[in-house]
Subunit: 349 residues, 3 copies
């Protein structure tokens, strides 16, 4: 049984990663080379030269083709060999091409059946296009099943314990969450009224010109969209001003952006970031938030990798499903449905 | 077939390793977290949170409980969850607790059947409790079956070749050993009369105010006790003063302390040290002896790890059993008896 | 099916590698220790002490014997234990001895059936013995099947792409190769007339006092001899002076020396070097050529290791065989014949 759907758009890279040289990256167990046939375009092929099996990602781009760095075979975007010095290439076998698109500031790849790829299925990301928002983020490679990260992000109770010095606070624990699923969209919410803001939020309050020493209303609204994209609305408003619905001038509001891309069954690419709709021109603030988030998210890495090792050692062991786990449980149900939908139909008896 | 008995006390750690934070360590293939519920007490549990499989060793201790660093589940010493924020924990499955005790300056764990654990089975270590003795030691992690180290220590012929510049001397080779087994206690002895002391012993003679340029009588008496504890009486006396039985003023006498703890079938924790009953207040001497021993014992590591690789590559190959190997052979027989005693009884035909 | 013949002479080491200490090295999946029983002699044995399996390569040589660094067992050249302190060794099992010889500035080993080893089978290397030649070279350890390197060297088209800044030039691509097999000897040739010399050859022209800014005739004649020795005649002559057959004063001519020795099925020892017959006393030139070649040949390493990873991931995938691959294809046929000849005869139906 697969651990991930393949008929889905995954974030494969950030645009700067393939600006000049090709990029070799494994996504959903597929070894893929990403490259730019021309400025602003992107192509994705199997990272395997049909001639002798060399890694195309070690090659270079020339006049719109990907040139194999071993014997100069030239690949077109569609996986067809278009030229090779001294050779007729018509009969060369095609290699696999992957649907790929650059959108919202990311490179998206579809590792499954190409005929089903439709860029309209990439769900809309308002913050990525609107001038009212600023974004900063990074990439971590983590040795764990990406679903452990789904569990992690769809329940922020762990902030109290994993992120004690930044965003954790005891009131997170003490406030129950509510989870609901609407089709493939899973939402887990927690609202904490009249609490003191932890350090990360105090810094953000200051970043928006608000006092950092007063009680606030704090919220966390985690949205899961398949295959594994999690957007978390987070923020604090000065207490009693309407909380989540307070006026912009009374709050700081951000979206924690998490694109989880399986590399293999037990490793993943973690594209993390934060979008905010206050003080958006302040690049120093963007850099400062990114740096803070990088530290916070690195704390999860050690926990999840140790958890993965434990699960590999005790594969049969049953885990608990508590109310705080409902977000992960519901999200995994969506994932399982997507995986099941990809299986070949079975004959009825 | 197991390579080690599990119904036995093994040294798991030194007390300083778990003074503040929990310690995660694999012993006999069991992933265990060691922690202190209160000063002077120690507890050992499976390193697996029953909630989602996180490593408990990444957590911390709070008010006598081990707090999981992921979601704040609190574990008691017996492996029962005692609390978790916002949860009823009565129905949580217990995790395994291991008998554990602090004694003689070490943390001892019993990785097998808890009902059989009896601290009276830890054999008495006079040097660890008496003010007439001083002790210093360290810990090495070695990639070899712990039984290769049993072989190594129950025959010190190798000192001539492995430890040429410290404790080796040609007379070791030339002097036959005598091995006898008394129940589970195996003893291999070698007595060398009227030899010049090698560098390590010359330093010790000076450390006890004795001349280092005269012939000595030297002895090595290796004691094996199951599961894998080896105490080696070593020393030199000025020649002709009675050797092993000479007056304290005429000799230097130490006990080489070796607790061999299997980590996996092909790796081990090596708790090594030396106890001496001369000049016991001299801490600089203790440090100097420890430093010398650390270098000597590191020399064994390379030899044993290469031997382990060879044995893995040629698993069927027969080895020789010579008279110098008798100590290891007899000790392994005791180990095999202990392992066999743990096997479920077979039905008679 | 084996990937290499064992009844063959392979280069195992350069003489300086075993001048003082023994050398442990795996050749064709055999763990071997090489050592010198006396100056100018070399012996090769299984790297496995018959006593307890210690690695003999960790030992030392004493009075013509290899002394095990664990318990002092002494091995003779033929794999018989000749002495051990306090032991009668007559009954000790022999370990395997490998035919080994020092010739042409290399240590050659025969990992197969000793009775078939005949040093006359080492093919003659004129450049290694004649004072008219100078030689410099090095050793790389590469994680790939040695046959990928055979492919690489028996077709130099890759120079255009892999070695763009040193020996590559577009005319290589544009000039067809000719391949012929004469028994076990495979030759692939390419002659390029009236081309500008690339940087590596410009430096060599200067090294021989010739102008470096004029057109040259360039040649590459690759000779494969089993099991996996490839000598490549390379050179350039001032254009129109006879090319390959030009007078020595009008050309620079070298032999690229490649001894490919399998370590395992997917790793190899690469003994590379260059012999030249011009300006042979100039040691600075020898060093300079070696340094340049080291850089060039390191470029192949990354390509071949990535290719090996790809082939391991897609083992069933068919590769193309183009005309440029003929040299590798023909050479592999010879290798396959040699491997087949070693298989036990099958009964006829």
């Amino acid at each position: 049984m697969s651990t991930f759907p393949k008929n889905a758009w995954y974030v494969a890279a950030t645009p700067d990663e393939i600006d000049e040289k090709p990029l070799g990256r494994t996504i959903c167990n597929e070894k893929i080379v990403f490259w730019r046939p021309e400025a602003g375009k992107v192509a994705a092929l199997e990272d395997f030269c049909p001639h002798r099996g060399a890694a195309l990602s070690l090659g270079y781009v020339c006049e719109g083709n990907l040139v194999c760095g071993y014997h100069g075979l030239q690949m077109g975007c569609e996986g067809k060999t278009v030229a090779m010095p001294g050779q007729r290439v018509q009969g060369f076998p095609k290699i696999r091409a992957y649907p790929v698109v650059e959108k919202y500031g990311f490179i998206w790849v579809w590792p499954g059946e190409p005929a089903l790829a439709d860029t309209a299925k990439i769900h809309h990301l308002e913050w990525a296009e609107s001038p009212d928002w600023a974004y900063g983020g990074g990439l971590y490679h983590i040795h764990c099943d990406y679903r452990l990260m789904v569990d992690n992000l769809m329940d922020l109770t762990h902030e109290t314990y994993v992120h004690t010095t930044s965003i954790g606070q005891k009131e997170i624990d003490e406030t129950p969450v509510s989870t609901k699923a609407d089709g493939d969209h899973v939402v887990t919410s927690r609202f904490m009224d009249n609490v003191m803001p932890p350090p990360f939020w105090r810094a953000n309050l200051r970043g928006n010109g608000l006092p950092d020493d007063q009680p606030v209303d704090r919220w966390q609204v985690c949205h899961f969209h398949p295959p594994s994209h999690i957007m978390i609305e987070v923020g604090v408003a000065l207490a009693g001003r309407g909380g989540y619905n307070a006026e912009p001038k009374d709050k700081v509001y951000s979206i924690v952006v998490d694109f989880l891309t399986p590399e293999t069954d037990t490793s993943m690419w973690y594209f993390w970031g934060m979008a905010r709709n206050f003080n958006v021109k302040d690049k120093a603030l963007t850099a400062q938030i990114k740096e803070g988030q990088a530290k916070v998210f690195a704390e999860d890495t050690a926990v999840l990798e140790a958890q993965q090792r434990n699960l590999l050692q005790w594969p049969q062991r049953k885990l608990l499903l508590l109310n705080i786990d409902a977000g992960g449980v519901q999200s995994r149900k969506v994932i399982d449905r997507w995986i099941a939908a990809e299986q070949p139909a079975k004959l009825m008896a």
